[in-house]
C-alpha cells in the first residue's frame, strides 16, 4: 500500500472515530447540571430572554435534533454561539487556536531537540554518569507538574533575572505582525518583521519549555530504553564486528530504529497538549485555545465545549496519521507489511 493510500484510508477510519467522539461529547455536555442559557444570562435576566436564547440554541429540542443542527452547522460555518464570548465558536477557534498551536509547536521543537539526544546519550552509555544524570532529570521532569515548572521559570527567569517576559505573546510596545496564520513567529517572518519575530520567540521560551519538560523526561527514558535494546540486536553487533566507527553506528544505524517508539509517544504527547496546556496558558496569560476550553467547561458553554473536544480529537487524528507515516518511513518492514496487506 502506498503511503498516500494508507493516509486516505486512515483519514476515512478517523472520520468515523470523530463522529463517535462528537456524539459522545455532545451528550455528555448536555447532561452536566445547570441551564446554560440561564447561566450565560445571569439570575436577573428576564425569563423571556432566557427562553429566546434556549430557542436560539435549540435547547428545547431532543438531544438528537440538537445534534443534527450542530452537525449541519459544522459544515456551513455555523458552529453555534459561545455563551462565554457571545459570538460564533468558529471565530473563537480561529482567534485562540493559533496561539496554542504556536506554543505547542515550539514546545514540540524543544522536546525533540532535547529528548532525543539525551535518550541517545543515556542509552549509548548505559549505567554511566551520563545515564544516571539523565535518569534523575527524567524523574524530576515526570514527577514535577508542568504548572509548577511554569511558576518556577516565571519566578526565576522572568521575575528574578528579567531574562524573559512574565506574561503574554508579545510586548506591549511591539506591533504584532500582520495576521496571516495567527502564529506570530511565522507571520513575522512572512512579513519581514524581525523585531516582532524576536519578541515573540522571547515570549515563547518560558511557556514552551514548561510545557515541554514533562514530555522531554518521558521520551528521553523511552529513547534510552530503545537504544539499549537495539544495542544487543544482531545488526548492531554485525556493524561493530565490521569495524564501523561508533558515531556512524549510533547516528546512522542505531538512532533510526530507536526513534520508532519515541516518535509514537512524542506525537501523542504533543497532540495531548492542546487540551492540557490550560494551566500554562493561565499562568502566562497566554490567550490560547486550551484556556478557552477551561472557561467553556466552567461556564457550561455547550458549543464551545464540543468545539474544543473536537479540535483536540482532530489534532490526535492528524498526529496519529503522521506518526504512522513517519514510522513507516523509519521502518521499511512496516511499509512492506502494508504492501503485503494490499
Amino acid at each position: 500500500m502506498k503511503s498516500w493510500t494508507f493516509a486516505v484510508k486512515r483519514l476515512a477510519y478517523s472520520g468515523v472515530s470523530l463522529l463517535g467522539l462528537s456524539i459522545l461529547i455532545f451528550v455528555i455536555a448536555r447532561v452536566l447540571p445547570g441551564d446554560p442559557a440561564r447561566l450565560a444570562l445571569g439570575p436577573r435576566a428576564p425569563q423571556s430572554v432566557v427562553e429566546a436564547l434556549r430557542l436560539q440554541l435549540h435547547l428545547n429540542d431532543p438531544v438528537y435534533t440538537q445534534y443534527f443542527y450542530w452537525l449541519r452547522g459544522i459544515f456551513t460555518g455555523d458552529w453555534g454561539i459561545a455563551l462565554f464570548t457571545q459570538r460564533n465558536v468558529l471565530i473563537d477557534v480561529s482567534d485562540f487556536l493559533p496561539a496554542t498551536i504556536e506554543l505547542i509547536l515550539f514546545a514540540a521543537i524543544i522536546d525533540l531537540v532535547i529528548a532525543v539526544p539525551l535518550g541517545l546519550a543515556a542509552g549509548r552509555r548505559a549505567n554511566s554518569i551520563v545515564d544516571n544524570g539523565v535518569r534523575v532529570l527524567s524523574y524530576v521532569g515526570i514527577a514535577v507538574p508542568s504548572f509548577v515548572v511554569a511558576i518556577l521559570l516565571q519566578l526565576f527567569l522572568g521575575y528574578g533575572t528579567h531574562l524573559f517576559p512574565l506574561i503574554g505573546r508579545i510586548s506591549q510596545n511591539v506591533v504584532p505582525p500582520t495576521q496571516i496564520t495567527g502564529l506570530y513567529t511565522l507571520d513575522a517572518l512572512l512579513t519581514g518583521n524581525p523585531g516582532a519575530f524576536a519578541d515573540s520567540v522571547w515570549h515563547l521560551i518560558l511557556p514552551a519549555f514548561a510545557l515541554a519538560l514533562g514530555p522531554i523526561a518521558q521520551e528521553a527514558r523511552i529513547m534510552r530504553s530503545s537504544v539499549v535494546e537495539n544495542l544487543d540486536k544482531d545488526f548492531t553487533l554485525s556493524e561493530v564486528s565490521h569495524g564501523l566507527p561508533e558515531r556512524t553506528i549510533t547516528f546512522k544505524y542505531l538512532m533510526k530504529p530507536s526513534l520508532i517508539p519515541t516518535i509514537t509517544i512524542y506525537a501523542l504527547d504533543i497532540s495531548a497538549q492542546i487540551a492540557n496546556a490550560f494551566l500554562i496558558e493561565t499562568i502566562f496569560i497566554w490567550p490560547g485555545f486550551s484556556k478557552y476550553g477551561l472557561n467553556a467547561m466552567l461556564s457550561k458553554d455547550l458549543n464551545a465545549i464540543v468545539a474544543v473536544v473536537m479540535v483536540a480529537g482532530v489534532m490526535f487524528v492528524i498526529a496519529n496519521i503522521l506518526v504512522d507515516l513517519v514510522v513507516g518511513y523509519l521502518d521499511p518492514r512496516i511499509r512492506l507489511q502494508r504492501r503485503t496487506e494490499e
Partner: protein, 568 residues
Amino acid sequence: MDVRRFQKRKAIGRSVIATAVVVILVVVGVGAYYVFVPGQGAGTQTTTPTSTQSTSGAAGTLSLTFANVPNADPAKGSDEASSAALANLYDSLVFPTSSGTIQKDLATSWTVSSDGLTYTFTIRSGVTFHNSDALTASDVVYSLNRFISVGQGYSYLFSPYVSTVSAPNSNTVVIQLKKTFGPFLSALVRLYVVDQKLVSSHYNSTAPNNDYGSTWLLTNDAGSGPYQMSSANLESNMVIKAYSNYWNGTQPYQPQTVNMIGSSDSSTVHALFTSGQIQITDQWQPYSNVLALSQLKEAKLVTIPTVNEFYLMIDTTKAPTDDIYVRQAMSYAFNYSSVINNIFPGSKPSAGPVPTALPGHNPSIPASSQNLALAQQAIQKSKYYGKLTNYPVTYWWVTQVPSEQKMALEFASDMQKIGVTVNVVGQPWLTVVANLAAESTSPNVVSITDGASYFEAGSVLQSRYTTPSEGTWEQNEWLHNSTLDNMIFSALSTLDQTQRFQQYNTIQQQIYNQYPTVYAFDVYEARAYYPTVVNWYAANGHPIVLLGYDFYFRDFQFYPSQLTALFG
C-alpha cells in the same frame, strides 16, 4: 553503500547542520539586538500601543488585574471588569459620586412629572463619540431601546419599568415609565450611551436580531467616555487609551493608557506586582498574598468597602431550619470574628440583610456577633430540641473559592456547640446554581456573596428576598412571603427618597427578625498597590462603591517616572 558515498553524505549532513546553526545564531542575534538594545528594532514604537494581543507591561501604562477580561458591550457586561471598562469607555446620563448620590453627566438637567412616570432630560451639547460623531438625543433613545431588547447585563433595571423613550429634538430625551420606580435616576448610571450610527453599521445580518452589533462591540467601542478602546483579546487583556477630545477635558496626570489584564492567578499576579508590571492587584487574591505584596518597598495594603455581603442563606422550608429558633440559634452561635480575623481578613461585620456601605441600610440593626448564651436559649425553644441529631443540616460551599471551606468548617464547629450536626459539602458553582433552581434540591445552608446593582438598599432587598428571585442563586431562603414582596415593591415605587428609606428600614428589620440568613460579613476588597505611582481616590478614603466605579481612570493620578524610579 561504498565508503566514498557514505563520506559524501556525511559531509553534506555536516554542511546542513553547520548552515542551520549559523542561521539560528544570526536570527537569535538579530532578535536579541532588536529586543535588548533600547530604541532599536523595526517593530518597536514609542507611541501608544495598537496591538491586539499585547499583554506585557509597557512604561507609561497603568496596568492592573481583574478576574476576567471585560465584556465591553454596554448591554451585556455587568461583572466588575466589564463595569469598570464601561464606566471609562461610555458616558451615562448621570454619574455616581463617592457620597452615594448622583451628579450630572450627559444630562445637564432633568425634570420628573408629578406622577413620577415621565422623565425629561436635556442632553449636553458638544459631546462627540470617539470617532468624532456628535452625540445626540437619538443615540440615548437607541441605547435604551437596544439595552432592553438585548435583555442582558443591567437591562433588568429598566425593562420592567420603561414604557417608551423618545427624542422630541436633538437634545431632549423623554422616558415614559409603566409604573413608578423610586431609584430610577440612580439606576440610570448603568445606561451607557452608544453611537447608533456606528453600532448599526456593524450589525451581523446572519445572526438572530442582527446581534445588535454585540460581536463587534466585544472588541471595539462606540462610546464617548474619557477612554477609548485600543485593543481587546477576550482571553488575555483589554488596553484602553485616553480620549483627547473628551467633553469634560483631560486631567493632567490621568494615565494615558490602561492595561486591564484578565487574570487573578496568584503566582502570576505576585510576579507581575513584584516586578512593577502591574500597579494594583485584583480583589480575588488570597489575603496572605496581598499582605505579602503590600510589604514590598513603596507598596501598600488597602481595604475598600463594597456593596457586597457574604450571606449564609438558610432554607426556611426544610427541617430543622424551617424552625425560626434553630435559625436564630445559628445566627448567635456563628463565630463571626473568627471568620473575619482568620479567614477573610480585611472584611467588616455585617448588620442585617443590606451591606452597611449602601445608602438605605438600617443603622439600628446591630452588627453580627457571636453570643453562645443566647444561642443556647434559642435552641432550647426549638421544636427540634432534643432530637437535633435526627436532623443534620446540609451546608454547601462553592469549591471555586477554597477559603469558603474554612468558613464552612468554622460553621460546623460552632453549630456543634448548640447540638446541631452539620454536613459540610463542597459543590462546584454550576451544581449550586442548578440545585438552587428547585426547593426540593436546595441545601439547608449555602454560602454566597451578593450585592447591589445601584446605590440603594432596594436593589439588594429585591434581588435577595422577593419571590421572583426564588429559584436563582440569589436566594436559598424560599421565603414565599407575599407581604414582604408587597412591601419591597411598594418601597421601590415610592418617589420620595426619605419615605422610601424609611420603608427600607422597616423591611430590613422584618427580614432580620425572621433570621432567614446568617449575615457573615460585609465584603471589603483587599488590594496591594503602589501609592507613589498611583494616586487612587478609592484607596484615599473616597471610594465610589458601585461596582466598577472605583476604577474611573480619569480621576487617577499616575506617575510613570515614579514607576521607573522604583523598577528601572
